[in-house]
């Protein structure tokens, strides 16, 4: 019985909103560092790509 309940819970979690929110948040996180973060190391590394993709840059 316990096993059955657990299986059900994990299935529910996996089809719920959490994975979608997680993927979205991870995407926003990557875009932020590649396109927006102004720390010199991020800016200099991403400079040419930011220009190519028209992110507002310096």
């Amino acid at each position: 019985m316990t096993v059955l309940t657990r299986t059900q819970t994990s299935t529910e979690t996996d089809t719920g909103l959490m994975p979608i929110v997680g993927a979205f948040a991870a995407g926003v996180f990557l875009i932020f560092f590649a396109g927006f973060a102004q720390a010199t190391v991020f800016h200099d590394s991403a400079h040419d790509t930011r220009h190519t993709l028209a992110f507002p840059c310096h």
Binding site: T15, I20, L30, Q38, A46, H51, L53, F55, C57
Partner: protein
């Protein structure tokens, strides 16, 4: 579901990133480097005449800034390679999260739909912001960065929501709200400078803007198709 989302996004992002790198190096990089020649004052143009600043070229300091050493160029190209992958895996993740939301509303996303999502992504992330903030060649002065970033993010979100409402909205009300979202950022207007102070020739900037939009559209079409493909291929995980 988590595996499906992340696997689809990473594979699609890698393919789009590869195309992005190829296009950046064949079409954009030479213009960026030439723009920087004007930005640093190594070159200037007056009345259609190209002037090369020999004094600057001769001085060692400017030479290291303008004429890059091969290892600097290698570093620059490898970084661009890495950053393109990061950017398009990022957009890929956001796109497949959108697929999953559409799925939950009973709208299955096919491979062809993926292409439409890609074109919509290009419209939201590049076309709409370019109306207020044209892609910038290095050496183009512009308004305060934080304000431009804020306007850019707002415009991207509003346009994406508008397109989603047009595509999936179930009544005229949704279309109406979509139209307001589509137009509002442009009525508010992007932050601009009062005058024009670009250092590079207008021809170079014009070519740059056109190529940037064309390159972005190609990358986003590939991203959408690839995301649609992997999303359906991974349907059972």
């Amino acid at each position: 579901m988590t595996t499906r989302l992340f696997t689809s996004a990473v594979f699609a992002g890698l393919i789009a990133g590869l195309i992005a790198v190829l296009l950046q190096f064949t079409l954009m990089q030479s213009l960026i480097l030439e723009g920087e020649e004007y930005e640093t004052g190594n070159k200037s143009h007056f009345g259609g005449v190209l002037v090369i600043n020999e004094a600057l070229e001769a001085s060692g300091e400017a030479a290291t800034e303008v004429k890059e050493e091969p290892e600097n160029l290698l570093k620059r190209y490898s970084l661009a390679f890495f950053v393109q992958f990061i950017v398009f895996v990022g957009w890929g993740l956001i796109m497949v999260a959108g697929f999953a939301v559409a799925d939950r509303f009973g709208r299955k996303v096919t491979v062809k739909d993926g292409l439409l999502w890609g074109i919509a992504g290009f419209t939201a992330v590049h076309m709409a912001p370019a109306i207020g903030l044209a892609p910038e060649l290095p050496g183009t002065p512009a308004a305060e960065l934080e304000l431009r970033q804020l306007w850019w993010v707002t415009t991207v979100i509003a346009t994406a929501m508008a397109l989603a409402l047009f595509a999936y909205g179930r009544s005229a009300l949704f279309v109406g709200i979509g139209l307001i979202l589509l137009v509002a950022p442009h009525l508010i207007g992007a932050p601009r400078l009062d005058g024009y102070a670009g250092l590079a020739p207008p021809e170079l900037s014009g070519e740059y803007v056109a190529r940037s939009l064309a390159v972005s559209m190609a990358i986003w079409a590939v991203l959408g198709l690839a995301a649609g493909y992997f999303w359906n291929r991974n349907a059972d995980i």
